[in-house]
């Protein structure tokens, strides 16, 4: 942990994540206004003392909407990634441990699915399931599964031939025990690093879906949807699109920086440079 904070990237990343975390936990308590209440006399205003980040086209306070939206946007990224990582790891670890033709067959299917860009994959699944946050989250996690499975599998393959795994096989342990007690604890590092960086992708895809009208639905305070709703008025009041847009970028930046710092701290060879 101390290594993480020593590099400037890790320090900034950690601070951004703490900020985002605070917004998620305390956001609704700190918000000065109700995020859905209209203030018709204060529409499309720039920052002022009454509205620190300005107001949108209905006079809703942007700071309050931002604070409420953190839960939607960031929790979406965390949830979708967690689900994708769990499913992907199960598939990848199983393929890597069992090996043989089952492994090859699974990997060929995953190769095929990886040829479909993440966003396209997500769009297809959302069309199949329907618009909405829950479905969008499921779609992103399914789109993440092939990539995570590959990473989990390659982590497992590098461990599979180690003596302690061979010893467990020789002892006649069950596959479940070998995977759970011998392989997984040693393969978890690369999986966690990849997952951290993927949270930022998941958040961005979630916001993009909201923006395209396929994710969160009005009057949600999801940040991508906020950008989409304010687009009509963006020339009159650039604040409306800039505030949620920059918020998405900063949250994604936090996960990116933190993930990279985490990778460096797992890999002593990189740390020395």
């Amino acid at each position: 942990m101390r290594d993480l904070l020593r590099s400037p990237a890790g320090l900034v990343g950690t601070c951004l994540l703490l900020l985002v975390g605070a917004m998620m936990v305390l956001g609704p308590l700190l918000a000065p206004y109700d995020p859905q209440s209209f203030h018709p006399r204060a529409r499309l205003q720039g920052p002022s003392l009454a509205h620190l980040l300005g107001t949108d086209q209905f006079g809703r306070d942007l700071l309050s909407r931002l604070l409420h939206g953190a839960r939607n946007t960031v929790a979406f990224g965390l949830g979708a990634t967690a689900l994708g990582v769990i499913i992907g790891s199960i598939i990848g670890v199983t393929a890597g441990v069992i090996g043989g033709w089952i492994d090859s067959a699974i990997m060929r299917v995953l190769d095929g699915l990886l040829a479909v860009p993440d966003l396209l994959f997500t769009l297809l699944i959302v069309t199949m399931l329907g618009a909405g946050m829950g479905y969008a989250m499921l779609a992103v996690s399914v789109a993440f599964t092939p990539g995570m499975a590959r990473i989990a599998r390659s982590a497992v393959l590098s461990i599979r031939t180690r003596e302690y795994v061979l010893a467990a096989i020789a002892r006649g342990e069950s596959w479940g025990w070998i995977i759970g007690r011998e392989v997984l604890p040693n393969a978890i590092g690369p999986i966690v690093v990849e997952a951290t960086i993927r949270v930022s992708f998941a958040m961005m895809i979630g916001a993009t879906l909201g923006f395209l009208g396929l994710g969160a639905q009005p009057p949600s305070t999801e940040w991508g949807l906020m950008v989409a709703e304010a687009r009509q008025f963006m020339f009159r009041s650039p604040w409306c699109v800039a505030v949620p847009g920059v918020a998405i970028a900063l949250a994604a930046l936090g996960f990116n920086l933190f993930g990279d710092a985490l990778r460096d701290s797992f890999d002593p060879r990189r740390r020395l440079r």
Binding site: D111, G112, V116, L120, T208, I248, L253, R273
Partner: protein
């Protein structure tokens, strides 16, 4: 390059496309409401539905339908768009050309900017220039395309500045400078994300190479730094960089969907969003397959180029 290597790679690409075609077909089978419902709307009578299902062959087993559809695709019969009543193949062909122009502009810009930036950052490691490039790269990878695009429009295409058109498309054959003006913002949006990623990867590859024994040996034997870079470091950092660029084509294809929608660029991405909104199945299937094909082909080409410049890959 051995014929065996080429054949193996080609077979892998074909297998990928087969998997994708099956996945796309499976998604359309799971979709609530089949093509008949989509043609007739939700108020159709059961008799009408039965008649249209019979005509489209929707009552056959799914395996027969899949093989029939795949056979049609292979023979160039991509079906008719349900909403536009136009052949899907023609729609995709014209959209593909427009998307290719946008993607090519972005890719050339990125390659020209990102690789020198990455090399400069690696050579001047630890200096302020390196830090600035690194920071820029992080910001680039953390901005979703729709945010970059919206901000670019606000600041460069608003009624006050009005430097560029906020959207639309002009064919370069009719009005070349009009095309340049229209392609600037969408290509810029796509380039920002990709430049950030490729510059970061190039820097890390180059840093690995610069720390290697053969570069140290080249320096110790007294070669000038320029010669060390050009003869020893660059060729070895090139292959992984090409691999990264080809993987980034995947990002590019995803980004193009959003960017085309925002800038009203009449390409594959816009066609796809239109088809998704209208549940136009034949168009959705066609566009998805084409995008997957482009990605798989670009990976194949990059593998072949890498095999050409790096003999170790060929014999592995």
């Amino acid at each position: 390059m051995t014929p065996g290597y080429l054949a193996r790679r080609l077979a892998a690409v074909l297998l990928v496309l087969l998997v994708v075609s099956f996945a796309v077909f499976a998604i359309t089978m799971i979709l609530p409401g089949n093509a008949a419902v989509m043609i007739l709307g939700e108020y159709a009578t059961p008799d009408q539905l039965a008649a249209v299902s019979e005509r489209l062959g929707l009552n056959r087993p799914w395996s027969v339908q899949y093989l029939d559809w795949l056979g049609g695709m292979l023979q160039g019969d991509w079906g008719m768009s349900l909403r536009l009543s136009l052949p899907v193949a023609g729609l995709i062909a014209s959209a593909f050309a427009n998307s290719a122009m946008l993607a090519a502009t972005a890719l050339v810009t990125v390659t020209v900017i990102a690789i020198p930036l990455g090399i400069a950052a690696a050579v001047k490691r630890g200096t302020r220039a390196d830090l600035a490039i690194g920071l820029l790269a992080y910001i680039g990878t953390s901005m979703p395309e729709f945010v970059t695009a919206t901000l670019l429009i606000v600041f460069l295409a608003g009624p006050e500045s009005g430097l560029f058109p906020a959207g639309g498309f002009v064919s370069p054959l009719e009005d070349f400078w009009g095309f340049v003006a229209h392609v600037m913002l969408p290509a810029g949006t796509l380039s920002l994300v990709l430049t950030a990623h490729i510059a970061r990867q190039t820097r890390s590859e180059m840093a690995d190479v610069l720390a290697s024994d053969y570069v140290r040996a080249a320096r110790l034997k007294g070669l000038a730094e320029r010669a060390v870079l050009r003869r020893h470091a660059l060729p070895n950092a090139l292959a992984p960089t090409i691999a990264v660029i080809s993987l980034d084509i995947g990002y590019l294809l995803g980004g193009i969907i959003v960017v085309e929608e925002i800038f009203a660029w009449p390409g594959l991405g816009r066609l796809l969003i239109y088809a998704l909104e209208n549940r136009d199945l034949p168009v959705i299937m066609g566009v998805t397959l084409v995008l997957a094909m482009v990605y798989a082909t670009s990976n194949l080409i990059s593998d072949l180029v890498i095999a050409m410049i790096d003999p170790r890959v060929r014999y592995a």
